[in-house]
């Protein structure tokens, strides 16, 4: 099974729908342990990304990822802009030249994205950041590869997001809350869950 240009565009469109739909929820998650703008910022950035993708012609999937990355970089702001922007930029570079993305190149692309997020944010697993969703998801996809099931991808991402609730933040603004950050889902992990739930939806339609 292979993801084509229009599947990647669809990925961003579905993610955008979910983010627009849950914008207030994401902002609400950001209020107790952040600065209360994650939903607003992600909604602005993803809207820009899908608008840009709908207007351009693409030769290969990497170009979709690059354009989405640039839109997120320039429109999201805050810490999430550079983190998501870096993720899709690294993924774009990792799949450059490919006409379609199969399971193995999806693993390569998402691994590169994860590495990009870690380097940009100087973050590791367990610090209550989006690494805590991207990490487990990449692990899951790597272990399954050709047997990748959409339902499992969604549930892995959801469980990973929910596990951030019990973590204590040591990176980002939430780290100032120390123990008080426990008991809240990390907003960046929640938006990352929507990213992977949407990827699963695209994947499911292909199988």
């Amino acid at each position: 099974m292979e993801l084509e240009i229009h599947d990647l565009i669809k990925w961003f469109e579905i993610t955008n729908e979910r983010i627009q739909q849950h914008k207030d929820y994401l902002t609400g998650l950001d209020q107790p342990i952040g600065d209360g703008d994650h939903g607003i910022n992600m909604a602005r950035g993803y809207q820009e990304a899908v608008t840009k993708l709908s207007q351009a012609e693409y030769q290969e999937p990497s170009e979709v990822l690059r354009d989405a990355s640039m839109a997120l970089l320039s429109k999201v702001g805050g810490a999430s802009g550079p983190l998501y922007g870096t993720a899709f930029l690294k993924m774009s570079l990792a799949v450059k030249g490919l006409e379609t993305i199969n399971a193995a190149s999806l693993v390569n692309g998402l691994s590169a994205a994860l590495l990009g997020i870690k380097q940009r944010g100087k973050a590791e697993a367990g610090e209550k950041t989006l690494v805590d969703v991207w990490g487990p998801v990449v692990d899951y996809i790597s272990s399954e590869e050709s047997n990748l099931r959409a339902e499992d991808l969604t549930s892995q991402a959801r469980m990973a997001m929910e596990r951030t609730k019990e973590m204590m933040a040591t990176k980002g603004r939430a780290s100032y809350f120390k123990e008080k950050s426990i008991g809240h889902i990390d907003p960046g992990s929640a938006s990352s869950y929507y990213v992977f739930a949407s990827l699963a939806e695209v994947w499911k339609e292909k199988t």
Partner: protein, 329 residues
Amino acid sequence: MKKIINDPNQVVQDMVDGLIAANPDSLKQVPNTFVVARADAPVAGKVALVSGGGSGHEPAHAGYIGKGMLDAAVCGEVFTSPTPDQVLEGIKAVDSGNGVLLVIKNYTGDVLNFEMAAELAEAEGIQVEKVIVNDDVAVEDSSFTTGRRGIAGTVFVHKIAGAKADSGAKLEAVKAVANKVVTNVRSMGIALTPCTVPAAGKPSFTLEDHEMEIGMGIHGEPGIDRTSIASADEIATTLTEKVLEDFDFSGEVAVLVNGLGATPEMELYIMNKKLHEILSERGIKIYRTYVGEYMTSLEMAGCSVSLLKLDDELKELLDAESTAPAFRS
């Protein structure tokens, strides 16, 4: 929400337009950005200074653009870091070929966006260095947090590094003196009321009538303690002692008593009176005192105290000429 605004989503645009209109000879807007720069940028032969961050802290940072301070300020959305493409435009607008120093307040968003911009600028052949300001002693400086926040002490970095750049110093030397200021400056603040981000429409937290938050950040981030409101003398004592505990200020200092937006100058002077008494009791000599609004938090009531330990080099640079609208010397 009661504010003198038009569309809450256009406040940064409207503010930048008004700022340029007020200073048509000294400031310009870089087209299609929220970057404000010196009208005469790039200044030939000079290292350029670029700062910025979320809006809502006026006069920081665009008010500090002028000869002897910043060359450009990148204005983000309210309390939101500007994006890398905007910072890159700021860097390109002021680089004269002698390199650019980025002055960044220590917030994850600001650091990530400015770092990405620095990488993009380097890819275009521009020499970029950065300094990260973390003067707020209210939060613990440990590897288990993002580290201390950058607040009002940042203004001293703009002033002193700006003067150094104006003297014709090279990028490395400008960066070194900026880091010297960061090493020698400490701040701490209190808040009496919250503030409202225009696009959000309601305050991000609540403080009861009789409460104050000690050590609160300039975006309403939590402090170290919430107590009953105290007298000016008590507040000045709490803040000053916390700052003095953190660093050895014996010798000479510059003092900055900063209002957060809704605190009258009268109250800042009342604070300053006690602050001077405390420093004089400790035998710390005050070289310069600045009282007013330098780094605000929209309409938050409250204040911060910053101390900068001085040596001869810092004194000379602090007193050097500045034509910035919000810091003339």
